[in-house]
């Protein structure tokens, strides 16, 4: 066994370890207690436009994105807060679809969190002071999974409810692009 082989084995093992940790970590509370607005809520992300030009990326998103526990919590909150009422199970209705590739206010997790936090014109309420930031991040993580943006090993195939979408684990990853041409 060459030392290179051994090293790569070790690296692989560490990578698996970290990957598993990230995916399976169960955070029962947000790490920074009582922090303020998600940083991505700077003015240029509130309005339609190319989200890739957004100036700030909120680093906290990384600990929610692809975390199975956060996504599961987000899924439950999505139902409890009746997001289904407007967005259905991602297919959209009164509100825009969440499982396609069009994102008017940006499809990054921090941008989605900002949209939930601040609310958006034409009916999306602001959830600030209704949900904790932790919960908003969790919902954002779940919303990201609807269009296949997160790792498949962290999402659940279905909820224990009436199914009206193909299994989440089989969702094709949609490219994230602005929906400037699309008027809902």
């Amino acid at each position: 066994m060459s030392s290179r082989f051994r090293n790569s084995c070790a690296i692989l093992a560490v990578a698996v370890l970290l990957g598993a940790c990230d995916r399976e970590e169960r955070q029962s509370r947000a790490k920074p207690l009582g922090e303020t607005v998600p940083a991505a809520a700077s003015p240029d992300t509130i309005y339609p436009g190319d989200p890739s030009r957004a100036r700030y990326v909120d680093a906290r998103g990384a600990s929610y994105e692809g975390n199975a526990f956060a996504i599961a919590q987000g899924q439950q909150l999505y139902n409890w807060m009746n997001c289904v009422g407007c967005h259905a199970h991602g297919g959209g209705g009164m509100g825009p679809a969440l499982m396609d590739e069009k994102w008017r206010y940006g499809g990054r997790i921090d941008q989605i969190a900002a949209s939930i936090y601040q609310g958006r014109p034409n009916g999306m309420p602001a959830w600030r002071s209704k949900l904790t930031e932790d919960q908003i991040w969790q919902i954002a993580a779940y919303v990201r999974s609807l269009s296949g943006q997160v790792r498949k090993d962290a999402v659940s195939a279905r909820a224990d409810s009436v199914s009206n979408t193909p299994p989440q684990t089989q969702t094709v990853r949609q490219p994230v692009r602005p929906a400037d041409s699309d008027q809902q």
Binding site: R29, L33, W80, M81, S129, K130, L131, T132, D160
Partner: protein, 336 residues
């Protein structure tokens, strides 16, 4: 003194001490359980002693002809003359014992089924991770009581509890009153309770249901009919109005902020049903499904940081400011 009692009573097995005790026998089924359990224990102990007597006699008995039926005599295949008859007798004894126990069990089962005909009170209990949603419905359909994590029952009244689950399988178990019954998503099950003695009891989820399975208890109060009616009348009232400025601040916070998206307080704008109903929260014996006894200190601890009291509970740690915390606790305490 109470510590000494706590140490001695379980060993004495007298069964009158605990308020969550299968040997309490304070309800119809519970009493049947105690009778049947005593019978089974007696029969089983008898059989056990018989086996032990045989075992020790076989091992320790002094042998007159030391190697009567052993390899050394070459007669190791042979059987002692008594063995066949003893074997037959033993088989018959086991058979009779089992038959008797089966019959006893069958009649107890029938008696359990019989005492619970014609329910006089119907309650619906819904299991959630990790709390109980409790709804009373009455003949007058305009009236209904919704509460959580507590069950009030009038003594001697046959109550039918309908059981459902919103998420995973739970099991409804108030050992002093009756056996368990699972709450299974997609199914409706039921259990009949006939409390015989007034008192405070405790029930607990008995089917593993996730992280906080250990903290999913149910406070049971069996009281006289009059007391029950008084309780019910109080429960039918909307949430009390705030009286002091501090309570008012708490009322505002609870009914407009994070609390209101999950909890219901009748007569206020908070009308969600994700979490336990809080209308008469302060009249209950415990916080968070038996996690903490109800008192001011625990209330502060719970509202400030539920995740440290019951890690994994669905109630988030909001991060209230000290002023908000004082206000919220003040109003919660008002909810008698």
């Amino acid at each position: 003194m109470s510590r000494v009692a706590a140490l001695i009573l379980p060993l004495a097995l007298c069964g009158c001490a605990g308020f969550q005790n299968a040997l309490g026998g304070d309800g119809g089924e519970g009493a049947n359980f105690v009778r049947l359990f005593v019978l089974f224990t007696a029969v089983c102990t008898f059989m056990y002693l018989l086996v032990m007597a045989g075992l020790f006699a076989a091992v320790l008995r002094r042998r007159r002809n030391a190697d009567e039926l052993t390899v050394d005599t070459g007669k190791h295949h042979e059987s002692a003359p008594l063995v066949t008859r003893a074997l037959a007798a033993w088989a018959i004894l086991i058979g009779i014992g089992l038959m008797a126990l089966t019959v006893a069990s069958f009649f107890t089962d029938r008696s359990n089924a019989a005492i619970t005909r014609d329910p006089q009170l119907s309650v619906k209990v819904t299991g959630n991770q990790w709390w109980w949603d409790v709804q009373y419905s009455f003949a007058d359909t305009s009236k209904s009581i919704r509460t959580a994590n507590e069950l009030h029952l009038p003594v001697g009244v046959r109550a039918e509890v309908t059981l459902e689950s919103n998420d995973v399988i739970h099991s409804f178990w108030i050992p002093n009153l009756a056996g368990k019954q699972d709450l299974i998503p997609g199914r409706v099950t039921d259990i009949q309770l006939v409390p015989r003695k007034t008192g405070l009891y405790r029930g607990q989820c008995a089917e593993f249901c996730g992280v906080q399975h250990a903290h999913m208890a149910l406070d049971v109060t069996v009281e006289s009919k009059a007391e029950f009616l008084r309780w019910a009348a109080a429960q039918l009232q909307p949430a009390p109005a705030p009286r002091t400025p501090l309570e008012l601040a708490g009322y505002r916070y609870i009914t407009t902020r994070e609390c209101s998206v999950c909890h219901n307080l009748s007569g206020t704008p908070a009308s969600a049903s994700v979490g336990p109903d809080l209308t008469h929260f302060a009249s209950r014996r415990s916080i968070a499904a038996g996690t903490l006894p109800m008192n001011k200190g625990n209330l502060y601890g719970w509202v400030a940081d539920p995740q440290s009291q019951k890690p994994g509970t669905k109630m988030p740690t909001i991060g209230l400011s000290p002023d908000e915390l004082h206000a919220v606790v003040a109003y919660l305490q008002r909810l008698k």
